[in-house]
């Protein structure tokens, strides 16, 4: 790490860092700075559109209009479309309409003030992803019944992907995007090696449970230790933020799922779904989509796909996410 340019900001309730390798020369630094600003700008933009914690966000506005075909921005439409596709594919183990459930559990505090916010009419809690209709031609979204759309499992990954694409588009080949431990790595680190990434031990905060090297891939971890709800909200069945939409309670079969994918959005959403499905079905889901993952159970048993490298090994994405049009 001898030669690096880093720019950080607070966004989406976490610290986002853009890390560009190289940059000792001041001429490079100015260019890096502009590119990193642009990349961080995507986080602001995604938050502005997709955050259910911002009452003025597009998704919050959408949640207040029921039974009406609401024109959506390309970003909101694409994020919702993707979220619904994952919901469909997983039979509802992933469901972006969890908003009301999460709100009942106390995940409803504006992250700066800590004050409770209500951004939608009361819902009956029975809504599912099937209550959202998309019109691909008109680019509209219709909420068939009152619900809170929560794109949290999609939005941060999308922002990472957009930031990575921005950097890729500006000609950068060696960089990292870190959004609170959801990561995208391009090329190599400043030592000229693939990026080393540690997976957090799900039970021991300061420890790394596994480590390998990654190039041209997103690495996203869903853990039950995140946002553990200690005494917040009414619903005691929800102890952490990954809820099984089919039962309305916290998913318990995994302690952490780390997913490697060409896209952070894909890694985050499918990793979240795999967390809910549990080690066996979850891993099957990820394998079916050609992704690699490490799953740690609450008993600290480890399962992983064949593509995950041994300690110190290297995982190489097929090509930069961002330049890739289609895996098909």
């Amino acid at each position: 790490m001898s030669d690096a340019f880093l720019l950080s900001t607070a966004s989406m309730g976490t610290v986002v860092t853009i890390h560009i390798v190289g940059g000792a020369a001041s001429s490079d630094r100015a260019a890096h700075h502009r590119a990193a600003e642009r990349a961080l700008g995507w986080f602001r933009e995604v938050e502005r559109v997709c955050s259910r914690f911002e009452p003025t966000s597009e998704v919050s506005q959408l949640s207040s209009r029921v039974g009406e075909a609401v024109p959506a921005s390309p970003m909101l439409f694409a994020a919702t479309h993707f979220a619904l596709a994952v919901a469909e594919e997983t039979g509802g183990a992933f469901d972006p309409t969890l908003g009301s459930l999460l709100e009942a559990a106390g995940f409803n505090h504006e992250h700066r003030s800590g004050w409770p916010v209500r951004i939608a009419p009361a819902t009956n809690g029975a809504a599912s992803f099937r209550d959202i209709e998309l019109d691909a031609d008109a680019h509209t979204i219709t909420l068939v019944r009152p619900l809170l759309l929560d794109l949290g499992a999609v939005a941060k990954g999308l922002a990472i992907d957009m930031a990575a694409k921005e950097l890729d588009d500006n000609g950068y080949e060696n960089f990292a995007v870190d959004a609170g431990g959801d990561l995208y790595f391009a090329g190599k680190n400043a030592a000229g090696e693939p990026w080393s990434v540690g997976l957090r031990h799900p039970r021991r905060e300061a420890d790394i449970i596994e480590e390998f090297r990654v190039s041209n891939s997103a690495v996203c971890t869903s853990g039950d230790y995140e946002r553990r709800a200690v005494g917040g909200g009414d619903n005691t069945a929800i102890e952490h933020h990954i809820v099984d939409p089919r039962t309305g309670t916290s998913a318990k079969r995994c302690a952490s799922v780390t997913t490697l994918a060409p896209s952070a959005m894909v890694a985050d959403a499918l990793g979240t779904a795999a967390f809910v499905l549990g080690p066996i079905d979850g891993l099957a889901l990820l394998e079916r989509h050609g992704l690699d993952a490490v799953i740690i159970t609450p008993a600290l048993e480890r399962t992983a796909t064949a593509g995950v490298p041994a300690a110190g090994g290297v995982y190489r994405g097929e090509s930069p996410t961002t330049g890739r049009m289609s895996a098909g």
Partner: protein, 237 residues
């Protein structure tokens, strides 16, 4: 199983391209607003010394890239030749360490905003969490060795706030002999108990010198605390 293989991966990739193409111009505006309005929350974050404070880069004055290139149909993305700067930036510098690079201490510095040459008189009261996130980090006393000879932290006790969507955390650091002797959670304003992150204080700043480049699975509150430490350290400058 093969029929649907990569279906979602392909959909995700297509979404990224579509959003990027559609949102490029608007995002650039967002970046500019971000730069102007949120300068207090922004920080330039450098682990390594640089010859001089970076000249503030007004994003608005940036030479405009050809926007049409970004609005082009996705199909052209695959064949777009890379610009060269990253290549040139990625390697050669290792060979020619600058004088300033000899001060290898991890350091965080902030480029002050052009629009705000002087700190406004309306600095937030001590009670309100200050949004200023400009900061400078040196390794904790426990981490190895290198000293930040140029800009030692001033001895004393400093507090700062970090935020998460669950509320704020206030961290307090104690500086002795220009190094962080101690860090602890001084106020927990999150809606959840802070007890489960009690293990963090010794770890957070050490993360600056973690052997791995990054850790996947870092928590929200880890970051809130980290940020609080960073805000506190800024006051020690």
């Amino acid at each position: 199983m093969t029929p649907i293989k990569n279906n979602l991966v392909a959909l995700g990739s297509a979404a990224v391209v579509a959003v990027y193409a559609a949102g490029y111009a608007r995002t650039r505006e967002a970046a500019e607003r971000f730069s102007v309005e949120d300068s207090q929350r922004r920080q330039e974050y450098e682990r390594h010394a640089q010859p001089a404070p970076v000249a503030p880069v007004p994003v608005a004055a940036e030479p405009t890239k050809d926007t049409s290139a970004h609005a082009a149909p996705p199909a052209r993305e695959t064949v777009t030749p890379k610009h060269t700067p990253a290549k040139t930036a990625s390697r050669p510098h290792d060979a020619a360490p600058k004088a300033a690079d000899t001060a290898t201490t991890p350091r965080v510095e902030v480029a002050s905003k052009p629009a705000e040459p002087t700190p406004p008189a309306s600095t937030p009261t001590p009670v309100a969490p200050t949004p200023e996130m400009t900061f400078k980090v040196t390794p904790p006393a426990s981490a190895d060795s290198t000293t930040d000879a140029d800009k030692p932290l001033k001895d004393g006790i400093y507090s700062g706030y970090g935020r998460s969507r669950h509320g704020d955390i206030e961290a307090t650091v104690s500086i002795k002999n220009g190094k962080i002797a101690e860090a602890f959670i001084s106020q927990c304003l999150t809606q959840y108990s802070c007890s489960w992150i009690a293990a963090l204080p010794p770890q957070v700043v050490a993360r600056q010198s973690a052997e791995v480049d990054y850790i996947s699975g870092a928590t929200q509150s880890t970051n809130a605390f980290y940020y609080a430490v960073v805000a506190a350290l800024k006051k020690a400058k």
